[in-house]
């Protein structure tokens, strides 16, 4: 379970997070939505231990991530999988080596077993035939899928997705969401998806948190946010759904 408690974070004079709190129950997926630049990825990096909050806490299964450092922190976050916005594949390695890297470094599997597991995972994400290519030789969608395969190869307990469909065409974006859903059903991880993919993402998540001006304005189920009449939430959801703001800013 992930419990985020009153996180405050400033960069210079800009206060990005002003007391963000929410929970993600065990085995559930939360969609973190909000306008661009509102601090969604910053929250994700706090949960991953890549940033320390000025104030507040992040509890992972009862362990306060903010009080850990060094090996204890590494030991906790090695159970995480993180899908970066740009994939963050090692550009000096092939797709195969990227996906095999965690297994080679952290397990005692022999090369034959690693090959079997990596090819099986690449098959799941539809990348068979591209395993010997370098990240610079494949498309953005393939990089995201390879990154997903690398993140899931160790069957993590917690998966964090930073805008998994941004920059992809609608069909590839839909296939990535379907892939996340099928992996969630297979591994049962607890997950957070930072996304603008509204309302498509609502079909695969259990909870939604809407971030607005540094705080969580809404926390609830996808159906609740779709039915909300809040003057800030409604225009946001409708604009994201219909691609326009004008009609939904009008009362009623």
């Amino acid at each position: 379970m992930i419990h985020v408690q009153e996180i405050h974070k400033s960069f210079g004079n800009a206060q990005v997070l002003k007391g963000v709190s929410f929970d993600v129950p065990q085995g559930k997926i939360l969609a973190l939505v909000g306008r661009s630049g509102c601090g969604k990825s910053v929250i994700l990096k706090h949960i991953a231990g890549l940033l320390k909050p000025d104030n507040g806490h992040v509890f992972i299964n009862g362990n306060d991530l903010c009080n850990l450092s060094g090996r204890k922190l590494l030991r906790l976050i090695e159970r995480f999988g993180f899908l970066f916005q740009n994939g963050a594949l090692f550009d000096s390695m092939t797709i195969f080596d990227n996906v095999a890297f965690p297994l080679r470094e952290k397990t005692r599997l022999n090369e034959r077993e690693i090959r079997e597991k990596v090819l099986s995972d690449l098959d799941q994400v539809g990348l068979i035939g591209s395993e010997e290519k370098f990240p610079s030789q494949v498309s953005g969608g393939m990089i995201k899928r390879a990154s997903l395969a690398r993140a899931l190869i160790e069957e993590p307990d917690i998966m964090l997705f930073d805008e998994p469909t941004t920059g992809l065409d609608p069909i590839t974006g839909q296939s990535i969401l379907a892939l996340i859903d099928s992996c969630h059903k297979r591994f049962g991880f607890t997950g957070i998806i930072v996304t603008h993919e509204i309302p498509r993402v609502f079909s695969i998540v259990d909870k939604v948190a809407l971030l607005h001006e540094g705080v969580v304005l809404f926390y609830g189920s996808p159906s609740e946010i779709m039915e909300s009449n809040d003057p800030i939430i409604r225009p946001f959801i409708h604009a994201a759904t219909n691609g326009q703001i004008k009609e939904c800013t009008e009362p009623g």
């Binding site: 590494l74 090695e78 999988g81 993180f82 970066f84 963050a88 090692f90 550009d91 965690p102 952290k106």
Partner: protein, 276 residues
């Protein structure tokens, strides 16, 4: 009341002075903070280097990159430095009728001073800049974060192999530089200017002690630490001190090369003064 008139000017002067003091304080604090950060970085790197597991494959790869691939440039610079020393030394020494001492002069200049310094500067330019750029790009493209989120220590994978490779390679490259430089001096002194070969090497053996050689190698070991420390630090903290993007990497690389080169020359002075 006339004495009140310059009051606004006085206030402006006072405020400018206060601003100056504030900026000076800010800059000093930032510099101290950065220096502390560099110290902690080196401490962490040494801790990782001294505790298992050591990534042998990565270390060999970096030795190949920093050491083996630098041999040609070290060979060239060593040869020409020795040849220039041969000409200049012969020209100067012959004025005093001491041209027989060309061998020791070339050898001592190379072994104690020029070998370690020029080799270190060459490694900084060829390999140090590349290490900074590589680590810097990994930083801005979140590859270092990805490594960390796999539960793997980036210091162990990116920093330690570079530091150890530099410590191993720079003294060896310096030794190659010295030997090639001595033969460069021989080429000019003996083959072109007509000195007797026995005199060139004979005098050298009389005047060059083992202590001179160890001093030179000790210097190059120090320079190896400086190059790897500065270049890895600048790459690892691209974005923190230099800004993000391609410009950040470019700035980090430039700063790494300039700072390493300056530190090599400054540290060379301190080492020479303590060994003198």
């Amino acid at each position: 009341m006339t004495w009140l008139l310059p009051l606004p000017h006085l206030m402006i002067t006072l405020m400018s002075m206060m601003n100056f003091v504030r900026k000076l304080g800010e800059t000093s604090l930032k510099s101290v903070h950065k220096l502390g950060h560099m110290g902690i970085f080196m401490g962490k790197s040494l801790c990782c280097a001294l505790t298992p597991p050591l990534k042998i494959a990565l270390l060999i790869k970096q030795i190949q990159f920093i050491g083996f691939q630098s041999i040609s440039v070290i060979f060239l610079t060593g040869a020409f430095t020795g040849m220039v020393l041969g000409y200049q030394g012969y020209n100067t020494l012959s004025r005093f009728g001491s041209d027989a001492f060309l061998g020791p002069m070339v050898a001592l200049s190379l072994i104690k001073e020029m070998g370690p310094v020029i080799s270190a500067l060459m490694v900084t330019g060829r390999a140090g800049s590349s290490v900074t750029a590589q680590i810097g790009i990994m930083r801005i493209s979140e590859q270092i974060d990805a490594l960390r989120l796999m539960g793997l220590d980036p210091y162990r994978y990116l920093i330690v192999p570079n530091i150890l490779a530099c410590i191993i390679c720079v003294p060896l490259l310096t030794a190659i530089f010295d030997v090639v430089g001595i033969f460069g001096g021989y080429l000019v002194g003996v083959k072109l200017l007509g000195m007797v070969s026995g005199t060139y090497f004979g005098e050298m053996m009389d005047y060059v002690d083992m202590k001179d050689i160890t001093e030179g190698l000790w210097k190059s070991l120090n320079f190896g630490v400086i190059i790897s420390w500065v270049c890895c630090f600048k790459g690892f903290y691209t974005g923190v001190y230099t800004g993000f993007g391609a410009e950040g990497v470019s700035k980090a690389t430039t700063e790494a090369v300039v700072l390493s080169s300056v530190l090599i020359l400054v540290w060379d002075y301190f080492l020479t003064s303590t060994m003198f």
